[in-house]
């Protein structure tokens, strides 16, 4: 990298005086959101440079994982299985602030919390996850909690499971999938498998009706369709190009452009965008939804000194919105922060990997994997051609690897 490019990359830090920080003042990194992106970034900054002060702002008191949460809906895992504490982060010297972040002042470099406190930062990391575009589906507001998304693991996961348990044999579960890009591309199809797995076991006359706004299954299509056909014949019914535009909790029905469909459990996932704090921080750059970043540092292309991670980013080509990918974002960001805050040049060629496992039954799993390398000519991070791919077939061996993946990635970000 030429020196001028580096200075441009490091410019904001130099202005804040961090590049030449003395022994007295510790550089301060504030992270908003302790999910797959934020927790990973916080832990790795603390690990790689204990001289940097790291503060994490998180509204939740525990981490609840979206990956594996479909298994809770299927009755194959519990909420306890997918919940982890934040004490591990504290052991790395990370300070945790249990609060809602209200506003970001990028000129003053400070964050205002809901309780009125302010936190000053040299570099801010936003890992805000997603918030929903409820307005895109008529009638959605007010339809909750009868109509749920359960697309953030937590109370809605518990409530949707309760609805499925209360469903009489012969009932219909409707799952509406938004147009891509959305969080966790294979997630809806795994969810269809998990709910069908439960129905097959507990109430075999029930049906799963998938209304997909996309023209086809967006991830691992042939593998999912084979599982549906072989494991759940007559249970899962799949409709492509079926975008849900309205819901009615009174009649328990959803409307697509062509049809009105009734169901007993309505699981409608609205389209989403970067979480609210990204909007308030002014880092949303694209379609009023996503945040474009410099993939070498994860720094926002809109606001200097703010780095954005995870599902909130404008995904690079071939990059899914996944927990594993957010974990990779967190590490590239942490490495860049350590170099920038020490007045050094960040790695100009970051590498990221992704492996998404999906449970098609209680034990059998399929995956999609990719490796992404930075390409200076495209000024983006791109999937390596010839690398990556999907499972040859579903297997219990991959089921063991998938559960191992979950425990290791949770430890990698939190322990």
């Amino acid at each position: 990298m030429r020196r001028r490019e580096f200075l441009k990359l490091a410019g904001a830090a130099t202005l804040a005086g961090c590049a030449t920080r003395g022994s007295a003042a510790k550089a301060r990194v504030v992270v908003i959101g302790a999910g797959f992106g934020g927790a990973t970034a916080a832990k790795y900054v603390a690990l790689w440079d204990p001289g940097i002060e790291v503060t994490v702002v998180e509204r939740g008191t525990e981490f609840i994982s979206c990956p594996i949460s479909n298994l809770v809906l299927g009755g194959n895992r519990t909420m306890q299985d997918i919940t982890r504490g934040y004490d591990g982060l504290r052991k790395h010297g990370v300070q945790l602030v249990s609060a809602d972040a209200l506003a970001v002042d990028s000129a003053k470099r400070s964050v205002t919390l809901a309780d009125g406190r302010t936190l000053a930062y040299d570099r801010l990391v936003l890992s805000p996850g997603i918030d929903f575009l409820y307005g895109d589906i008529a009638g959605y507001q007010g339809a909750e909690p009868r109509v749920l998304h359960a697309w953030k693991a937590g109370p809605q996961t518990v409530e949707l499971r309760r609805q499925l348990e209360a469903l009489p044999d012969g009932g219909v579960y409707v799952l509406a999938v938004p147009v891509a890009p959305y969080r966790c591309p294979p997630g809806p199809y795994e969810r269809a498998c998990q709910v069908a797995n439960y129905f097959k076991r507990a109430k075999p006359r029930c049906k799963v009706l998938v209304l997909d706004a996309n023209p086809d299954v967006t991830s691992k299509g042939p593998l999912f369709k084979r599982a549906w056909q072989e494991l759940y014949p007559g249970i899962i019914e799949y409709h492509p190009n079926a975008k849900v535009v309205a819901v009615d909790a009174a009649t328990m029905s959803v409307r697509t452009d062509f049809d009105t469909v009734k169901g007993d459990v309505l699981n409608v996932v609205p389209p989403h965008r970067a979480g609210d704090i990204a909007l308030r921080a002014g880092v949303i750059t694209t379609s009023n939804r996503w945040c474009d970043v410099d993939w070498r540092t994860m720094e926002s292309k809109a606001v200097k000194g703010i780095h954005v991670l995870g599902d909130a980013t404008l995904s690079a080509g071939g990059m899914p919105k996944s927990g594993h990918m957010a974990n990779a974002h967190g590490k590239v960001c942490a490495a860049a922060l350590v170099e920038l805050l020490n007045g050094r040049e960040p790695n100009p060629n970051p590498v990221m990997t992704n492996t998404c496992y999906s449970f098609v039954s209680d034990r059998e799993v399929i995956h999609v994997a990719s490796v992404h390398q930075y390409d200076a000519t495209q000024a983006s991070i791109v999937p390596v051609k010839g690398a990556g791919g999907v499972s040859a077939a579903r297997s219990e061996l991959e089921g063991a690897y998938a559960w191992s993946w979950a425990r290791n990635i949770w430890a990698d970000m939190l322990a």
């Binding site: 790695n347 425990r407 290791n408």
Partner: protein, 99 residues
């Protein structure tokens, strides 16, 4: 005197370059951590803990995954995403990690 200053400056530059090489290796190794544990210390028994494995062993396994001589579910796909130099770097990093 000047020669000494130059030598000191060169030593500093070399140290900085080494620190940066190490940072790059550390970041490459971190791409393995989501499945194999932070610094290659897995909390499960299903995957190989990479910390402290001999460098030559890691390089040989990665190349065996890549050319298909060691069958796998996912590693044959991931190993193809790294260059030879990157495999050397991450293997070197893991070899130097305590188990």
């Amino acid at each position: 005197m000047t020669a000494r200053l130059v030598a000191a400056a060169l030593a500093l530059a070399a140290a900085a370059a080494h620190a940066q090489d190490n940072a790059v290796a550390r970041s490459l190794a971190a791409t393995c951590a989501a499945c194999h544990g932070t610094d290659g210390r897995s909390v499960t028994t299903e995957v190989v803990p990479l910390a402290g494995l001999p460098k030559e062993h890691i390089v040989a396994q990665m190349k065996a995954f890549r050319d298909g001589t060691r069958p796998a579910t996912v590693m044959q796909q991931l190993a193809k995403g790294y260059t030879d130099a990157q495999i050397e770097q991450l293997a070197d990093y893991f070899a130097g990690r305590p188990r």
